[in-house]
Amino acid sequence: MIPSLPRPRWLRTVTAAYLAAFLAFLFLPLIVVAVFAFNDAPYPAPPWRGFTWDWFLGNAGSGRVGLFKDADLLGSIWTSLVVAAWVTVLSVLIGICNAFLIERKNFAGKQMLSLLMLAPLVIPGVILGISILAFASRVAEFVDDTFGWDWEYLRPGLPLVVLGQFSYIATLSTLTISARLRRFDRTLEEAALNLGAGKPAVLRTIVLPYLRPALIGSAAISFLMSFADFNTTLMLVGAQAPLTVEMYGRMREGATPVLNAVSLFLMLASAVLALGLMRGGSRNKGTSAG
């Protein structure tokens, strides 16, 4: 049970074995993906035929198109980055507004509104996608019929993908930022106001710096969630596919190890992001304690 109580020997052994098996289960798929990015074979499958960089560097002419020469794949990474940047900016901005709205203002229907803000998390992503698709197309039809305007960006494409992802990622940033604002010591703000600072100055010099860890955290979560989103994106995507959709299409057809190469690249990128966040987090803890 717990360390302060006697635990029989067999229970310790079983616990350790279970933990080892669990970790193997967790990491096996990732290790396999990474290893086969370097296998000298046209398909990501055993046996091991020696080490190669082909799936990163291979030229289009050699029959093995590597990641850095695969224009479609690189283009889809760029598309994902652009979408994720938009979603991140929008989500953090609305997260700040909502945090102040919920923590600082009182108005009729506030309870309902804050409950409604949680709703996007319980709606399956596929349904968020189709509902936005259908609504956008109805609006497009309406402005076309009444005004004769052709609002191209309401057709499936990147603007709709951004809106679709934003519709539920905004909830996450709202939750993160308002949780931090709730713990803010308001006497600090009053002190600054008493000392003659104006409201904008207080916001800029006291409140926003205090919110910084939550802003960085919610930006990272938004970026990551947007980059990894599949369900909502699939319903709203147009001609330009983000990385997850591009990879999905290729995985259905049985792709070359270039997908392993791009996956390894993603793993390294998210590892760097995670380490950066952790370091930033511990530094912030240090400064606020000091």
Partner: protein, 299 residues
């Protein structure tokens, strides 16, 4: 004179307050109105009409009638729900001992390190993790080859495209959402309660049933609800690991909407999925006697 000045300042700051409130309310209302409420209202209207000619529609419940009369839809709907329940329970059973190790057995740095290690795979997108499972399980993949080498099977067997494969993928992808609420609810359990139960002669199972599970109930509920919802709405894992035989309900919605362009039918199926998901969330909360807002705030 002075009271009039105070009065006008009061009016002005009240007006300022109103303006501030309006400015803060606008983004939230725009977001929830234009991206959540109106699209779903539109989807509801869409699902309740029938096309009787080019650009000519009449209100009807034909789409829902089709769902009940067409056995395929029914079958897939029930199958998706049952598989999701199984996946949720498996995830809970698999994650609970790990959450216990993290929250109770490991101490200090070891505990937080282990927690971080368990979360690492989920920094990578579901697509990448599914690719890993495909390489491991497909007929020419790592595990079938290994089974032949070990002499367990004589020829490589196809491990993809089974229901069990879909379950493995779904459980794998859901673990994170179970681990986090479980660990946080177990961490808040006072060890002295467990010691007291032990001193009073309770065995491991009794302690688990009468002390640990009641205390961890909010975490268990939160984890199960999130996992169930995500599993039900998953598209990537069932279609890739289950192939043609996946028969997942989200796939039906996609087919109606994108492949067949039958938006009315797709909208109706979408609403049925939403109804199933929402009602199971509500039942789950009722069973645990909790409010939705509290649970979401915990996670």
């Amino acid at each position: 004179m002075s009271s009039a000045a105070v009065g006008s300042a009061g009016v002005e700051s009240k007006w300022h307050g109103r303006l501030g409130l309006a400015l803060l309310l606008a983004p939230a209302i725009l977001w929830l109105g234009a991206l959540i409420v109106l699209p779903h209202a539109d989807l509801a209207v869409l699902s309740l009409r029938e096309r009787i000619g080019p650009r000519h529609y009449v209100p009807s419940v034909a789409q829902y009638r089709t769902f009940f009369t067409e056995p395929l839809y029914w079958h897939v709907f029930v199958r998706t729900a049952v598989m999701s329940v199984i996946a949720t329970l498996l995830t809970l059973i698999l994650a609970f001992p790990i959450a216990w190790i993290i929250a109770k057995l490991a101490r200090g740095r070891a505990s937080s390190l282990l927690f971080i290690v368990c979360l690492i795979p989920f920094w990578v997108s579901e697509t990448v993790r599914t690719l890993g499972w495909m390489i491991l399980l497909r007929e020419s993949g790592v595990l079938p080859t290994l089974l032949v080498k070990l002499g367990i099977t004589s020829v490589p067997i196809e491990l993809l495209y089974h229901d069990a494969t879909i379950l493995v993928g779904l459980v794998y992808t859901s673990l994170l959402f179970m681990l986090i609420p479980l660990v946080s609810s177990l961490e808040s359990l006072d060890n002295s309660l467990i010691e007291a139960a032990y001193d009073l002669g309770a065995g491991g199972f009794t302690t688990l049933r009468t002390i640990v599970i009641p205390h961890a109930a909010p975490g268990i509920t939160a984890g199960c609800i999130v996992v169930f919802m995500l599993t039900l709405g998953n598209y990537l894992t069932p279609t890739l690991l289950g192939g043609k035989s996946s028969q997942w309900f989200t796939e039906q919605i996609y087919n109606q909407f994108i492949t067949r362009f039958n938006w009315e039918q797709g909208a109706a199926l979408g609403f049925l999925l939403l109804g199933l998901s929402t009602s199971l969330v509500i039942i789950g909360l009722r069973l645990a006697g909790q409010r939705f807002g509290d649970v979401m705030r915990r996670t």
